[in-house]
Symmetry: C2
Subunit: 223 residues, 2 copies
């Protein structure tokens, strides 16, 4: 309860600073203080999100869709396929892509709309067939919240058209997009990080259990 | 409409294969085919997610919370703070952390519950003061969907207790956790990726506009 008192007091002080503070006091631009205590049980509440757009992708069904954006060996033509991120025109996103064109990659968080159901233990498409892993130790698309995380290569940002041309998609056509963030190496790149059971598999480009050849008909023609 | 027909036929074939296929036919284990066409307008529907747990963090308010997990210079004691990811005990997550202990990092996707409102253009805490960037070219916490993406260092996985001890938090205490994924360098690490306007700023550890010293009282005592 002490927190609440501190919170209210601090918030009003910060407000006063913001009004009166000189340009030389960096604290003048602090956001008002607000403590976490009143939100303590908030984590249990369901979260409702509104997609900001969708993926336009050559992958029309899950078969033949790569398991990671960077794994192209299983992909039709053995090369990264092209696609676009299309932002919704009616939710005030104009200008939202400004300055993104200088980045090589962006993170895209999507809702895997065609997947339902999940289990705490899963058998990944690589590794010993009978070895099950905890779902959070895998990138399995069937998970408690069907969120996808893909680092996509930016080919062109068409800000006015609310469109980003990308390669390296591992996402199905029509997948709802929830967020886009710039890829920043100092925060995101740990090239020497240990990857547990994945490290034991050898080459990341080794084949999965699923044989993706020949590719499904709708991808075959694009080769 | 042709897609729908193909879909139904292919799905039933795949089902038959799964029942009759021998162990040597890798296609026997293909998931049933299901095309994206029937889901074409699905992207507009709101998505409701259920948090799988919460963050236990030393950061009780936004002031003094680092802007990225790896940026510790502004943090109390100038070092990465410790915290835990606590999974909910009542949603069947037992075993879900199995095999995660071999990974150095995990991605954590959270809902930034204390943030509301967003604008298409934002002024980041670093860089020229009057330079506004598109929200999707920044990691600003105020965004259309308040999703956070953090690569956290795994210190210990206590699978039985449904707990992961981590360092490098940039998340507030009580933040709802939506997903945890292993960090896999071949898919996630692009150390030489261009980072647009962020590259122009020089050192990632340079100070923000906000002066985080002295740290707020609840962090000061932990130094």
């Amino acid at each position: 309860m002490r927190h609440l008192g501190v919170c209210a007091l601090a918030a009003s002080c910060a407000g006063a600073q913001a009004l009166q503070g000189g340009a030389h006091d960096p604290r003048a631009s602090r956001p008002p203080l607000q403590y976490t205590a009143p939100f303590q049980d908030r984590w249990r509440q369901p979260v409702t999100l509104t997609p900001i757009g969708w993926i336009s992708s050559p992958y029309k069904e899950r078969f033949g869709t790569p398991r990671q954006p960077t794994v192209t060996r299983q992909v039709a033509g053995r090369r990264a396929q092209e696609g676009t991120i299309e932002l919704a025109a009616d939710v005030g996103l104009r200008h939202s892509l400004r300055s993104l064109e200088g980045f090589d990659y962006c993170w895209v968080i999507c809702y895997m709309h065609m997947n339902t159901g999940w289990r705490p233990l899963v058998t990944p498409p690589r590794g010993p067939r009978k070895m099950r892993r905890g779902v959070f130790a895998t990138r399995a698309p069937h998970r408690p919240n069907q969120l996808a995380l893909s680092a996509l290569r930016i080919r062109e940002v068409q800000a006015e058209e609310l469109r980003i041309k990308v390669t390296g998609l591992d996402l199905l056509d029509g997948t709802p997009v929830l967020d886009i963030k710039p890829y920043i190496p100092y925060a995101d790149a740990f090239p020497n990080a240990a990857a547990g059971w994945v490290d034991e598999l050898g080459s990341p480009h080794a084949p999965d259990h699923l044989d993706y050849f020949p590719p499904p008909p709708h991808l075959e023609s694009s080769e």
